[in-house]
């Protein structure tokens, strides 16, 4: 019994830290998105609340909390409330296996910097969770009892299922390179400058494109294409339920950025810096430096996501499906074949 309580305590604390971190990230990314889009479009962006408008996202969340929660008359109330919970829950759950740094050693106790970074199934967990994320959006679309919402929900489901395949195929070539399924193992295999972005550029492009589609970000934000679908699956949502979808979008973006930096940008690896600093394995200083390197890479990926959204126009639906099934999927298969042949003769 004691052991159970101890485990629950450790995982509880880790979960609370990581969830608050993700929430803060989402708030920061909303601010970043507005500021960067302002720079790109030659505007000023939020500058009223707090210094440089830094407190704007908190003011927005407060506003959403105070707003009236409207449920359409013919909507299915239960599923209408369940949908944002599923979406946000799935967005958070991906962070359960993301390692933020290698490990901390206090006495004899080894503390991993993540909730469960060393589980046996590793990346399969991420794929499983993103495939469940479809339910949140389809249920939101269906339960609103609005044809635009339903169309948005169905589009997103079709899009997410299609791009999941290309994503999985891109990851297989990474797994071939690292010979390990855990995310920690994949990062360890990229020591120095053996980053997968240099060794597997094709897989990187496929994975990046699929992550844009999986997170419903522009140029693949068809589920919420305003000119055709009003607001897409979240048309009938208001107040904090809408806020949850909004938060989930940015949490998903954070998760996608974290996973891309772990799989392709070498995670917390950076050439020369660790040899130069010379900290011992498992020391607090080393973990802090690793954390900073990882967060910097993650932030760069988030910047890339935002940059793309404000630069590239939206795809048409048939273009999106053609790209996923006829280009990315065969390319992913080819990449696996080539990687396999090269690895066999090296």
């Amino acid at each position: 019994m004691n052991e159970i309580l101890w485990l629950l305590l450790i995982f509880g604390i880790k979960a609370i830290i990581i969830i608050s971190f993700v929430m803060l990230c989402a708030a920061a990314f909303v601010y970043l998105e507005r500021k960067i889009s302002a720079v790109i479009q030659n505007r000023i962006g939020p500058n009223r609340v707090g210094p440089f408008g830094l407190l704007q996202p908190f003011a927005d969340v407060l506003k959403l909390f105070l707003k009236e929660d409207i449920v359409p008359k013919n909507a299915n109330r239960f599923y209408h409330s369940l949908a944002p919970i599923i979406t946000l829950g799935v967005a958070f759950s991906v962070f359960a296996i993301i390692p933020f740094a290698s490990y901390l050693k206090i006495g004899d106790r080894v503390i991993h910097m993540g909730i469960a970074p060393n589980i046996n199934i590793g990346f399969l967990f991420v794929l499983a969770m993103t495939s469940v994320g479809v339910y949140g959006i389809t249920l939101a679309g269906w339960s609103s009892n609005n044809k635009y919402s339903l169309l948005g929900g169905l589009r997103s489901a079709a899009q997410m299922i299609s791009y999941e395949l290309a994503m999985g195929l891109a990851v297989i070539s990474i797994l071939l390179m690292s010979q390990d399924l855990t995310l920690t193992g994949i990062v360890e295999a990229q020591k120095g400058l053996k980053w997968n972005i240099f060794l597997q550029p094709l897989a990187f492009i496929i994975f990046l494109t699929s992550s844009f589609a999986e997170t419903n970000r522009s140029p693949f934000d068809l589920p919420e294409a305003e000119p055709e679908l009003v607001g897409g699956y979240n048309t009938e949502y208001s107040g904090m339920k809408f806020g949850m979808f909004f938060l989930a979008e940015y949490a998903n973006m954070a998760a996608a950025s974290a996973i891309i930096s772990l799989l392709f940008l070498g995670g917390w690896n950076f050439p020369f810096i660790y040899e130069w600093l010379g900290f011992a394995n498992g020391s607090v200083e080393l973990v802090l430096v690793q954390l900073l390197v990882f967060l910097a890479k993650m932030l760069f990926m988030v910047f890339f996501f935002i940059w793309t959204r404000w630069s590239i126009p939206r795809f048409r639906y048939d273009q999106l499906m053609n790209l996923g099934w006829k280009i990315l999927l065969p390319l992913g298969l080819l990449n696996i074949l080539v990687t396999g042949i090269i690895l066999m003769y090296i």
Partner: protein
């Protein structure tokens, strides 16, 4: 009480409960969603058996792909609540109740016997469910059945495409014929 037992207990009870909801509810969407929930509880059971790969695939394939398709169909057809047929105490239902009683007695006996005899785990039982182990077995000892299944699935996919395309073609031909007329 160990952690494994706790996880087993929670997921087993919830799995049965959601299974009952799946077959007893009138609303098709509720039925589908509770089946998804049931799959998640099965994942808990697989994890207590150290079968991580099966657990991940359960979510990935059943909850993430097959049930999404089912939910799709229900939503697009907008299936309403089920109409209840008139209940009759038929021969079938009496037989079902009899079998349920027999099964209950069997379980009672099994659990009482299990308590007294020692059950030994097979060698490497805890490693059997890992991805590495399953992959190794699939690509060495079971390579023929594995490839045969992949061929079978390919045939099924091609068949599905052919059936759906034929309908499209005949529609086009129909419209062409009409224009010609």
């Amino acid at each position: 009480m160990s952690l494994t037992f706790l996880i087993f207990g929670i997921s087993a009870v919830l799995a049965i409960a959601s299974g009952i909801v799946t077959i007893s509810t009138k609303n098709p969407i509720t039925s589908a969603i509770s089946l998804v929930f049931h799959f998640f509880m099965l994942v808990g059971l697989y994890l207590t058996l150290q079968a991580q790969f099966v657990a991940a695939i359960q979510v990935l394939v059943y909850a993430g792909a097959i049930m999404v398709l089912v939910v799709f169909v229900i939503m697009l057809l907008n299936v309403g609540d089920e109409q209840k047929l008139k209940d009759k105490m038929s021969f079938k239902s009496i037989l079902a109740i009899c079998f349920a009683i027999i099964m209950g007695v069997q379980f009672f006996i099994i659990f009482n016997v299990v308590k007294t005899t020692n059950i030994k785990l097979a060698d490497h039982a805890s490693e059997m469910g890992s991805v590495q182990m399953i992959g190794k077995e699939l690509f060495t000892n079971y390579i023929f059945p594995f490839e045969a299944i992949s061929l079978l699935l390919l045939t099924a996919i091609v068949g599905a495409v052919v059936i759906s395309k034929r309908k499209l073609l005949s529609n086009e031909e129909l419209s062409l014929n009409k224009i010609e007329d």
